[in-house]
């Protein structure tokens, strides 16, 4: 696994809702190595505040070397990022982490909540390209409301995926949690890939375990380096040992994670 420090150039920065942005960067070196589920560490400032890079999943890539991020502004780093404009440079390190694993003859359910949707588009594109004709994958996406969800869902639809939606306010799709759509789907798939808030992933993991289906979950923690050096990015493993998200993850077999009750 090779990671690269690349000075990418912004091709476009789109505002999707008041706090959700899509950033497209030309980063051909990183793109050439990237696998779905991996992430990049992004420098958001030219000075020391904020100090650390910020981790973001690779949302999508293009064959001509573009990489896109989908992110929500929640603090200093993401707010700064949202002010960046076309033509500016962004210092990236990536691709980092392990990524999702998949076989070419299984039906997979991709389920994402909130910004957890980000890594699933790249995964969907990849699965599409690799899977046998016979595969019928499923996409389930949840978010606060339709304004947040629809522009992103459109991308999955354009890849030809069956895509079901859920919103907290019922403004599109199912009114409620996206995990509530999962029971109907589980019997039709051989595996689940999930990303989103921890309680949501815990619920998805629980359903998969009950159905005896493999589930891969992409985890989030605070990271300083993303390189396996600082040992800051721990989560509790089900075996009682700590796991480092940047090195052992970010994608884990859901059974290896100690989920909060």
């Amino acid at each position: 696994m090779t990671s690269i420090q690349e000075n990418s150039r912004i091709k476009c920065s789109e505002q999707i809702t008041e706090d959700i942005f899509r950033l497209t960067l030309h980063a051909p070196l990183i793109v050439s190595q990237a696998k779905p589920g991996q992430f990049v560490m992004v420098k958001t400032s030219s000075n020391f505040d904020p100090l650390l890079r910020r981790p973001f999943s690779i949302h999508d890539i293009s064959t001509d070397g573009d990489l896109s991020l989908l992110y929500k502004t929640i603090g200093k780093g993401t707010s700064l990022l949202s002010t960046f404009t076309q033509g500016m440079n962004v210092d990236l390190i990536g691709p980092l982490g392990n990524g999702f694993t998949f076989s070419d003859n299984q039906n997979i359910c991709l389920i994402g909540g909130g910004m957890g949707i980000a890594p699933l588009l790249f995964l969907a594109r990849h699965l599409k390209a690799l899977s046998k004709e016979s595969c019928t994958h499923q996409v389930l996406l949840g978010a606060r409301d339709h304004r947040e969800l629809e522009p992103i869902a459109a991308q999955f639809l354009s890849l030809g995926y069956k895509t079901e939606l859920a919103t907290d306010d019922g403004s599109c799709g199912h009114h409620g949690y996206v995990s509530q759509l999962l029971p109907d789907i589980l019997p039709t798939v051989q595996g689940v890939c999930v990303c989103g808030p921890t309680p949501f992933m815990a619920e998805v993991a629980r359903q998969c375990r009950a159905a005896n289906l493999p589930c891969q979950a992409s985890m989030e923690t605070h990271m300083a380096c993303g390189l396996g050096a600082c040992l800051g990015c721990t989560i509790h493993g089900s075996d009682g040992a700590y796991k480092h998200v940047c090195k052992h993850g970010p994608v884990f077999d859901a059974n290896e994670v100690l989920w909060p009750l």
Partner: protein
């Protein structure tokens, strides 16, 4: 990977405890893994020295998450000295370190004087290790560590024990969380240390106001990064002015200018810590930068720069 300037005619080499470093730029313990993690960003052979993550006799799991918080121009960590332990270090990490050309220092930690001595003795038996850095200063572990790093007599005792048990040069790393850093430095010098590195992290804290809980599971953690640089520089200057063994400056160093400040203040070498996280090729940049600075100032040797601070008539 940034190119390393080694066409330079300037002599960057420095000597610490009888061993020569090709240049004064080292990496700080706990911030550079075991070297390998950075092989894609840095020319490891060109580094002055690598100090590996602190090793204890037995493996340690470290603290529960959350272990890291960003603070203004700094970060708090409460890793809790997670490490693979002596045995796995020797078996799994040392072979790679032996394969690179730069000097390797092993940072050690223990709960008792005997543990420090045992580690020093065992490490001396293996090739590929150029020196020992004794961490008496980590603020994250409740027993032992804190007292060794804050009471001069105890620091001296540990130093003596490690020196006695080891055939390698011994550097003692000081904690900044003390009233009088000079008396700590003098104690470890009296204990026979071949060098002193400072500073380790300052003890800090951060609170999540919505949850009304500390952000770190360990409640408190160690503050590092540019925020602490002025404090580190002051302590390095005070210590370098008071002892006659080499001093290694650490604390918030991320640029060539930062490194030069410490060298001018009297440090024989510097260690790059937190900067490796946000700028993984920082070590390379700084090595080249020091060479360029010296050339521009018509210095043929780094040693002319070390401790060259003028303090007379400053207004």
């Amino acid at each position: 990977m940034a190119p390393i300037k080694n066409t330079s005619t300037v002599d960057l080499s420095v000597n610490i405890g009888g061993i020569t470093l090709t240049n004064p730029v080292m990496t700080a313990s706990g911030t550079f893994g075991y070297g390998r993690e950075f092989s894609q960003f840095v020319n490891l052979d060109a580094i002055g020295g690598i100090v590996v993550k602190g090793i204890s006799i037995e493996p340690r799991a470290g603290n529960p998450p959350q272990r890291i918080v960003e603070t203004p121009c700094g970060m708090l960590n409460a890793i809790g000295l997670e490490n693979v332990g002596l045995e796995r270090f020797l078996a799994e990490k040392l072979p790679f370190l032996r394969s690179i050309k730069c000097r390797v220092f092993v940072n050690i930690l223990g709960d008792t004087v005997e543990e420090y001595a045992y580690l020093a003795e065992k490490l001396s038996e293996h090739s590929g290790i150029d020196g020992i850095e004794v961490n008496i200063s980590c603020p994250n572990v409740k027993k032992g560590g804190v007292a060794f790093g804050t009471i001069p007599e105890m620091a001296q005792t540990v130093t003596e024990a490690v020196k006695k048990a080891s055939t390698l040069p011994v550097i003692v790393k000081l904690s900044p969380n003390v009233t009088d850093i000079v008396s700590m430095a003098k104690a470890v010098e009296a204990g026979g240390a071949d060098g002193i590195s400072l500073i380790n992290t300052l003890i800090g804290m951060a609170i999540d106001i919505d949850k009304r809980r500390p952000r770190l599971a360990n409640i408190i953690g160690g503050l590092s990064g540019p925020a602490i640089k002025p404090i580190a520089l002051r302590m390095v200057w005070q210590v370098a002015s008071a002892v006659s063994i080499p001093v290694i400056g650490i604390g918030g160093i991320g640029t060539t200018e930062d490194a030069l400040e410490f060298l001018i203040a009297g440090a024989t070498a510097v260690q790059i810590g937190t900067a490796n996280f946000y700028d993984p090729s920082a070590v390379n940049t700084i090595i080249s930068g020091i060479a360029t600075f010296l050339e521009q100032h018509n210095e043929t040797s780094l040693t002319n720069l070390i401790g060259s601070l003028h303090t007379g008539d400053l207004s």
